[in-house]
């Protein structure tokens, strides 16, 4: 049975061209970039070129690109970097964010709360889009006290795209630094940081057909942060440790390809996405699209199926070779329903019954058709054995 992978938002395979570009750095050009001899300098050169390539894509200076060991580390570096900087000056302060951020943002902020920082969530609407007026009000209310605003570029579960430029502009009116977690946006959205106006931005390799365990933080030169990992002058003193040269080379190659294919691939997938949403809603009754229909990642389809529970759908699809996700991969091991779906106001029943299909490079219309055919049967059966399908009334309440 061929696998139909519809979980590209959880992670992507490494593309062949990307792996090929990186392979020599494992054993042929394996030097430590900090070494002074030729073997080291060859590695250093590869790293510098990768950095320059990415800087060009981001419209940034090379030294504004800090390579990290994951998207999560990059986020921790941005948020704690600002917090520790304040702490060393004997200050605390306020972080503004919103409810549908990735665990990496909200758990980091939860931890900073324990250290005495304050965290405030700006309001979002039922599609997960930030309320700009509320953000402005919060900035006004906490004037002089806000250390950072962190709002994700695109949501990993429901694909909602935030108005990053507008958010950055408002932050800058109040002279507040803005960070965005762009892990899910990199493949499809504009990464020009001049256009976006952000001060810091997180990307990772595992979502762009590069390596797991790679990430980066774009940080404008004028933004002062403390390092998260000490121990050497690597990455401009911002992230110590022997650099993952192969991973960095792969990351640059992958972003380069993404940039080249962005327009075409986004158009292709947006069409597939809309086709899939429409067809599911037509063929399966009592479903609900989560997230915004338009301000949405080209590859994201997130749907709640009334009366059934997500894991059961996931595992039955899995038996048909179809790989999908309930909420984010990170939370699959948790029993709580997705904080994102609860965050946009979905009742628990619907939050428990959601499936994220995330499309990607290898996704075809044929795969989508096959998936929907199988899905239809699965939902039908699970509803048949579900005690909430006919009896409960929450399903009627939420219908629009």
């Amino acid at each position: 049975m061929k696998q139909i992978y519809l979980d590209y938002s959880a992670t992507t395979p490494t593309r062949k061209e990307v792996l090929a570009e990186a392979l020599p750095y494992f054993n042929e050009k394996f030097g430590n970039p900090s070494s002074f001899h030729s073997t080291g300098l060859v590695a250093k050169k590869a790293m510098s070129e990768a950095r320059a390539k990415i800087a060009e894509i981001l419209h940034a200076a090379p030294e504004e690109v800090i390579f990290t060991g994951s998207g999560t580390e990059s986020i921790n570096l941005a948020l704690k970097g600002i917090a520790f900087c304040a702490m060393l000056e004997g200050k605390k302060g306020v972080f503004i964010t919103q409810k549908t951020e990735h665990h990496a943002v909200f758990e980091t902020l939860e931890w900073l709360e324990k250290l005495g920082f304050e965290v405030i969530n700006a309001k979002i609407d039922e599609f997960g889009v930030i309320d700009l007026a509320d953000l402005r009000a919060l900035l006004e209310e906490n004037k002089g006290n806000v250390l950072l605003v962190s709002i994700m570029y695109a949501n990993n579960e429901i694909g909602t795209i935030q108005p990053i430029r507008e958010i950055a502009d408002i932050c800058h009116e109040y002279e507040v630094i803005m960070h965005t977690d762009a892990c899910q946006g990199a493949e499809y959205l504009n990464l020009n940081t001049e256009d976006l106006g952000v001060d810091m931005m997180t990307l990772n390799g595992s979502k762009v057909y590069a390596f797991k365990g790679t990430g980066l933080l774009f940080k404008k030169n004028n933004v002062k942060i403390e390092p998260l990992i000490h121990g050497g002058a690597h990455e401009g003193g911002m992230r110590a440790g022997t650099e993952n040269v192969a991973g960095i080379v792969a990351f640059a190659k992958a972003l380069e390809i993404a940039e080249k294919e962005k327009k075409k691939e986004s158009a292709r997938l947006s069409k597939l996405r809309d086709y899939m949403i429409k067809k599911i809603q037509k063929e399966i009754p009592n479903t609900l699209l989560n997230g915004d229909a338009k301000k949405r990642l080209p590859n994201n389809v997130n749907i709640s199926f009334e009366g059934v529970e997500g894991e059961s759908i996931l595992l039955r699809l899995n038996e048909k070779g179809i790989r999908v996700s309930t909420g984010s991969a990170c939370s699959s091991q948790s029993l709580d329903p997705s904080h994102v779906l609860l965050g946009i106001g979905r009742p628990h029943g619907l939050a428990h019954g959601s499936i994220r299909f995330s499309l990607g490079h290898d996704t075809t219309k044929k795969q989508i058709d096959y998936t929907i055919k199988e899905l239809k049967g699965i939902i039908k059966f699970l509803r048949e054995i579900s005690p909430v399908w006919e009896k409960n009334d929450w399903k009627r309440k939420i219908k629009k």
Binding site: E309, L315, S386, P387
Partner: protein, 152 residues
């Protein structure tokens, strides 16, 4: 538990993919003697169970479950356990624990154990319902915490 390309044991998979004794329509349970319902949608697990009693033995079981694979599989497995060998005696059925079901499933991941516990609770609720309806006050089963008077 982290052993293969499936999260659960083979028995869980079997009972999840091909559940036994699940409820198909009202006619099936028309002459059943007890009904129980536990859990709620908020927690992500909800179960209904119908039992038919004869000679103090469980002669038939039907169920419905909203929940994850382990919830569905454990209810299915419970129904098999109750019906096998000519039907389980009520006395014994009342002593069944979540662990008994889990053992028959070959184990469950720690985080999922609460699901299988729901099965024995649904059973107890159904037996309590039977006790009330039949006047079998000798049965040692208390009113379930979540017992919904109106549903019965």
């Amino acid at each position: 538990m982290e052993g293969g390309d499936w999260f659960y044991t083979g028995a869980v998979k079997e009972h999840f993919m091909k559940p036994k004794n699940f409820y198909k329509n009202d006619k099936e349970v028309k002459n059943f003697d007890g009904y129980g319902r536990v859990g709620n949608v908020k927690c992500g697990d909800l179960m209904e169970m119908w039992i038919k009693i004869k000679d103090d033995k469980i002669k038939d079981v039907k169920w419905k479950t909203f929940g994850c694979a382990s919830a569905i599989a454990s209810t299915s497995m419970l129904s098999v356990m109750l019906k096998e060998k000519g039907g389980m005696r009520l006395e014994k059925a009342l002593k069944l624990t979540g662990k008994d079901i889990m053992d028959r499933l070959g184990g469950l991941p720690a985080i999922k154990i609460h699901c299988s516990v729901l099965g024995d609770q649904a059973l107890r609720a159904a037996i309590y319902d039977y006790k009330m309806k039949s006047g079998r006050t000798d049965l040692k089963v208390d009113k379930p915490a979540e017992f919904d008077e109106h549903a019965h």
